[in-house]
Symmetry: C2
Subunit: 320 residues, 2 copies
């Protein structure tokens, strides 16, 4: 088995992961990494931890764990409108298995290459399996899609379809279910979330000021926007974008999954109606976007008829 330093050299300080952008002055191998930001850019960063037995089964495919961990972390950059630059990795492992590390490193390199980010540092230690990532990205000075940026009268819009990843989790609990194309598609949505980076950057460019990524469920995450922005919203439940696979696989629970299911990592954003009319075509070129409601002055979240909608999205520790 390799020691800690050899392990880093072999699996993480390698060609697939250490091809840096010019902004990275120093990467893996020193006490710190160093970035030199382009003029007029700000730094934007987010940390996510994924723990075996909580966020993924310990026996899951290491390549999928790596890809999902990085994609989920990049999704936070997407939700700010930032361009990804580099990331750090805190990896805690019960043992240094070459087979596991090989697959993990390859999955990480594939996801990193897909989004143009490099690995610049981190820490590798013994312990229960868990992965903590921090992505760093760039934002033009002055702009950002913030949770406190929603304004009265703006449309509430979501990218892609909702509830698919939650339906996939249902499927994983009944592993005997035959793997139909619909089910395959739902599982793919859970295992391979797509950070909506291009959409986020496009939103920022056209003047949008508010977004969040849907990790805990639409109602919970939209709720964060409403709370931070001191506004409310009405949602047209009939307008929610549901995939054909979701409708076919769980017709009775599709709406509930779309409202409260986490792990889709789609963006929920707000936009003044004229901006939406002007740019809908260019935005939808990245991923289909669907208006589902409107921001109002009165606090709270209701359906189109004014009935309150209550979030039941996942929170760690709640109800203990």
């Amino acid at each position: 088995m390799p020691g800690e330093f050899e392990l880093i050299r072999r699996y993480f300080d390698c060609a697939g992961l250490n091809q840096h952008s010019p902004s990275v002055v120093l990467g893996i191998g020193d006490d710190c990494a160093i970035l030199d930001l382009p003029a007029e850019q700000r730094l934007c960063f987010s940390m996510d931890s994924l723990v075996a037995g909580v966020h993924f089964p310990a026996a899951a495919d290491p390549a999928l764990i790596a890809r999902r961990a990085l994609a989920v972390n990049l999704s936070d950059l997407a939700a700010m409108g930032a361009s990804p630059l580099c990331f750090t990795l805190g990896l805690t492992l019960p043992e240094a298995s070459d087979e596991w590390l090989q697959a993990f490193s390859a999955g990480l390199a594939a996801e990193a290459a897909a989004h143009g980010v490099s690995l610049v540092g981190g820490d590798t230690t013994l312990g229960p399996l868990s992965i903590t990532l921090q992505v760093q990205g760039l934002l033009p000075r002055g702009g950002a899609l913030r949770r406190d940026g929603a304004r009265e009268g703006e449309l509430v819009i979501v990218s892609g379809t909702l509830g698919d990843a939650a339906a996939a989790l249902d499927l994983l609990e009944q592993p005997a279910a035959a793997l139909t194309p619909n089910r395959q598609q739902l599982l793919e949505r859970y295992y391979r979330p797509q950070p909506r980076l291009e959409l986020g950057q496009a939103l920022l460019k056209i003047g949008a000021g508010c977004a969040i990524d849907i990790s805990d469920g639409l109602l919970a995450d939209l709720g964060h926007i409403l709370e931070r922005s001191c506004v409310g919203a009405r949602i047209d439940l009939g307008a929610l974008p549901l995939s054909a696979a979701l409708r076919a696989e769980c017709p009775e629970r599709a709406l509930e999954r779309a409202l409260n299911g986490g792990d889709d990592y789609e963006l929920c954003f707000t936009l003044a109606e004229p901006l939406w009319q002007q740019h809908r075509e260019s935005l939808c070129a990245w991923v289909a976007c669907t208006p589902i409601g409107r921001i109002g002055r009165a606090p709270g979240l209701t359906d189109a008829q004014g009935a309150p909608l209550v979030a039941s999205g996942y929170q760690h520790f709640r109800g203990e």
Copy 2:
């Protein structure tokens, strides 16, 4: 018990931790934190993970765990000559105990205040107890204390005294030992490492180019400098700075602890002799610094008589 969001609000988005420097545009509460760096400054960052049962006993005082985690992470900034700015916290907890969180948060706030850093984001999840921190700091453009910066003929110098923390670990394995002032002093060195931030910044200012912090043992960490700088070094074992407490408590193993004991978090740096002569007084005003050897062209690390010195510092995974 508080839910995840309430927990963050109560213990981490609080006055002791969220008083930001003007460079922090956005802290806790959005998808990302945002920094706006002063002109002519670079960003410098490092990630460290501490795992219960590996880096600290699960039952250890939460305030001490928090202080030590942040101090150890800040020590990486010190080793680059950087000024600390802010940090992110990935906290994985088996349960949300108010008592534990209260103590942890208070310890973290005390250490953060001592070094002028604020908490700007992170992730809190269920799982086996572990703490991952990433500190962000500032470096003037163009300068940094790097592991690859040692040059032939320079002095090898260390701050403070070596081996104390390793001796403390010996003491912790015999908890029946009476707590003499000497032992108290050694334990304090282990529990409360002092990041040598002022010394690192002073070194950078006077034109030094190379440092590392001693986390894995002098021989192992100096070895990283030699490897990265493609040089060797001779060390005068008689010159190693040993505390009176270390000499008194383990007279037979003092030298071994100083050479291979980790966890001291002193700086090991190299400096041209004229610079040392010129600035020794001002440097030692921060913390006593002791020349212990000299960089040479021939690779390898030897004592003054030329006998090879072999590192046995701790590495995760080695020997499995």
